[in-house]
Symmetry: C2
Subunit: 150 residues, 2 copies
Amino acid sequence: MKKFATLLVTLAVAAVTQSAFAQAKPEEAIKYRQAAFTVMAKHFHSLGAMAGGKAPFDAKAAAADADVLAVVAPLPFTAFGPGTDKGAKTEAKPGIWQDSAKFKQADDDMQAAMTKLVTAARSGSLDQIKATFGPTGKACKSCHDSFKEK
Amino acid sequence: MKKFATLLVTLAVAAVTQSAFAQAKPEEAIKYRQAAFTVMAKHFHSLGAMAGGKAPFDAKAAAADADVLAVVAPLPFTAFGPGTDKGAKTEAKPGIWQDSAKFKQADDDMQAAMTKLVTAARSGSLDQIKATFGPTGKACKSCHDSFKEK
């Protein structure tokens, strides 16, 4: 039920921001998606520090990270609309628009992995966080390798 | 109940990020809070466009904006710890650290106003959004006037 609720929020968020960015200037979309990635990375790395033993495990903190990630992880992907390949400094590669089906698949793969990490982090089980953090990081990296300038 | 759940998430998020930023470099905290403000502003302005009649009212989109704001609005304020007054380009005024009680009050006032806006936007009532958007914007502006470089 919680998973379903999260999915509903995710879909609703995707719906609003996609329509909202249809009217935005490219530089606004670029700034927004970079900002959402920054917030996402922070909370992802917080969980990573716990999973890797670099920070003490704190179940409450992990659940709070999960609550941020559940809402923020889908946001950057609503701001890669047509025409947002330039207009401000961006590390987005042209492949995002040239092979949009592959980019969408990479986004879907990451969201699926992230949903498992979010569920794990809300469960309070460090073992489950450890089990789901790696696959999520792999999904991030796979998309970066294809679609992000180094 | 929903309001209470939101409050719990808010408090939990504040707890994690405060401890998480104790170890971070000042430039990381500055980048993070600016990013969180960028995401927050986008969804706040989406509601503002509907409240002001510049965008058609879409109850689902408004509720999705609310879901983002409920989670993201508290985040910037977890990243103004000691020593984060410099280290990267920032518009944060020294008063944030010199009169931290006043800054905390300004944050509390904004969160209280934002909670009402979030509740309104989740309710599906444009009239309630209109009634709560202005006070929230006023709370943002009041804090900017005191604590943000122009």
